[in-house]
């Protein structure tokens, strides 16, 4: 297994643990992350590392949901936004090669799904 994804999984879990400390009694079910294709993170290796690091811990059973993000460019001439295919950075609308990267480097924690304990009023 790639050591890299273990470090990334550990960083994700640190954030979840910090949230867990703020919410005693809450049950964490899902953590959603966004991974860009330029982030150098392999989805399968990350899922494997995540499962290995949560096994037999208070976070066992926490599910990792990965949203995979393709590289996206924005045209500097006509402002069209497009997903890059086959390394072609040219604008599909007007054909210029003056485009800049606006997506694909994501390595973000997007959301958590959790059950809070019932509070009797």
């Amino acid at each position: 297994m790639n050591v890299h994804e273990v470090g990334i999984a550990a960083s994700i879990l640190e954030s979840v643990e910090a949230e867990a400390r703020r919410r005693p009694g809450a049950r964490f079910e899902v953590v959603g992350v966004r991974i860009g294709e330029l982030s150098n993170v392999d989805k399968d290796a990350l899922e494997f590392a995540f499962e290995a690091l949560t096994r037999n811990t208070p976070l066992a059973g926490l599910r990792l949901e990965v949203e995979w993000c393709a590289r996206r460019q924005k045209c500097l001439d006509c402002a069209a936004e497009f997903a890059v295919r086959e390394f072609d950075l040219r604008c599909p609308s007007c054909g210029t090669d003056k485009t800049s990267c606006i997506g694909g480097t994501e390595l973000d924690i997007a959301y958590l799904e959790l059950e809070e304990p019932c509070v009797k009023l």
Partner: protein
């Protein structure tokens, strides 16, 4: 219940890297982060780079490896501050390691700090070390398609250095194709070809560093005034 979090996975590293960046700016340190596969010639390039500076120059090196201080010993011969960061298995340097070793080394600006990352084209690209520029090395004994196989680092690097050009007559490597591939990923990436054995290309490399340092100093001065 779904709760929006919206934070970077590596936010703690990013925070420490921002502190380093601020420190470099205040102390007038030019920090570059040198990244390549194992064996592409990072240490050899740094040896020849250090050999190019007068003894009075203010330059320092932090060099990362999974094990051994071999690289630090090679680099220390040139008389400048050098410190080995042994990661003990971690496949990249992170901002915390750099901060600790920079403190222990006691290097103060103005000057140039070379950070030689762990030999790896994947992991180091995710970890910001507060550097002004990432520099990616590709040697002529590798494949021209490496930029396409490892787009993350070629996308983030400001400069691609083709190393071991003295071997070009002996290998089937097309520098033009390698550069074309790098620019498919990152059209603005700059390019220098050099040999650490013959020193071909070193004037361009040292010039590039000087130009970058001047640019950063001018930007800092403009930001202050």
């Amino acid at each position: 219940m779904r709760e929006v979090v919206e934070k970077k996975v590596l936010s703690e590293n990013d925070r420490l890297a921002a502190e380093l960046r601020q420190r470099y700016r205040e102390e007038n340190i030019l920090c570059v982060n040198i990244i390549s596969s194992p064996g592409s010639g990072k240490t050899a390039m740094l040896e020849q780079t250090l050999a190019s500076y007068p003894k009075t120059a203010r330059v320092a090196v932090l060099t990362g490896d999974l094990q051994t201080d071999n690289d630090a010993r090679r680099l220390a011969r040139y008389g400048f501050p050098v410190r080995q960061i042994v990661t003990g298995g971690t496949c990249h340097l992170d901002a915390r390691m750099v901060t600790r070793h920079l403190d222990e080394m006691g290097f103060k600006g103005p000057g140039i700090l070379f950070v030689e990352n762990v030999g790896n084209l994947v992991c180091p690209s995710s970890y910001d070390l507060g550097e002004v520029a990432k520099i990616v090395l590709l040697s002529v004994t590798e494949g021209e398609d490496k930029p396409l196989k490892y787009p993350g680092i070629f996308h983030r690097a400001s400069l691609m250095v083709l190393t071991k050009t003295d071997l070009l007559p002996h290998v089937e490597f097309d520098p033009k194709l390698a550069l074309e591939n790098a620019r498919k990923i990152h059209p603005e990436i700059e390019y220098i070809a050099l040999s650490s054995r013959t020193r071909e290309g070193f004037p361009e490399w040292l010039n590039w560093l000087r130009g970058l340092h001047e640019k950063v100093q001018a930007e800092t001065a403009a930001a202050i005034s």
